[in-house]
Amino acid sequence: MSTATNKPPVSMPGDYRKTRREMSEDEYQKWVYKHIAWAWDGTHIVAGAENLGDLIEELRRRGIDTSKVVFDYMDGPETYL
């Protein structure tokens, strides 16, 4: 069921999930164990850092609007519990 009317259209990021699925192993390994920010168009990673605070600072330092990227984490191969 959709939300109420009179709301502006939802601004959707691009298909970063598809980009992540299709990422080469070499590319993935560049970012593994890092917090990353996807570009809003979903085509590439704009920044990454060991911890979330550092990532936010990096984005700010570069003048990137933190509400216009998608935050993600590139897991290693360990089991989640």
């Binding site: 999930r17 990227v69 935050f71």
Partner: protein, 151 residues
């Protein structure tokens, strides 16, 4: 009406024995927008039926314009985690799969524990949906239930 998300696959360097040799781990990740008084944050969150609360990293509160000073608080622990503080606030959450859009006011937690990503647990999230975890097709479907408040 519902939203459907394919599991995200995380590559494994070796065959995953419990998954009969599959070369990746599928996880129910949901793209989500959390909005506060002055800002929003878009992320992939982990749908976690074992999590009591819906929890975000504490650094996000400032991005949203949320002051956690004096906020309702609790403590949390999980597998391998030491107890950590959670402070709560009311936010707006939005999920969409590009089709239907669901947005609602939710009481969520912010933690200083170094969580890797948002945890979408019962309070504030799963309490409002019937969630179907389809292991055969590697998708998760969320259909709003009678409690879903909408905005």
């Amino acid at each position: 009406m519902s939203v459907v998300f394919a599991h995200m696959s995380y590559p494994s360097p070796a065959p995953v024995w419990p998954l009969l040799g599959r070369m990746s781990r599928p996880r129910p990740m949901i793209p989500l927008t959390i909005t506060g008084p002055t800002g929003s944050w878009v992320c992939d969150g982990l749908l976690d039926s074992g999590a009591d609360d819906t929890v975000f990293p504490e650094q996000i509160a400032a991005l949203l314009g949320i002051d956690l000073t004096g906020a309702p608080a609790g403590s949390a622990s999980g597998v391998g985690m030491v107890a950590s503080q959670i402070r709560y606030a009311e936010v707006s959450l939005r999920v969409t799969d590009g089709g239907d859009v669901y947005e609602w006011a939710a009481r969520v937690g912010f933690t200083s524990a170094p969580i890797k990503r948002a945890l979408l647990g019962f309070a504030g999230f799963l309490q409002y949906f019937t969630a179907t975890f389809d292991g055969e097709n590697d998708v998760v479907e969320l259909a709003p239930n009678g409690l879903y408040p909408g905005i």
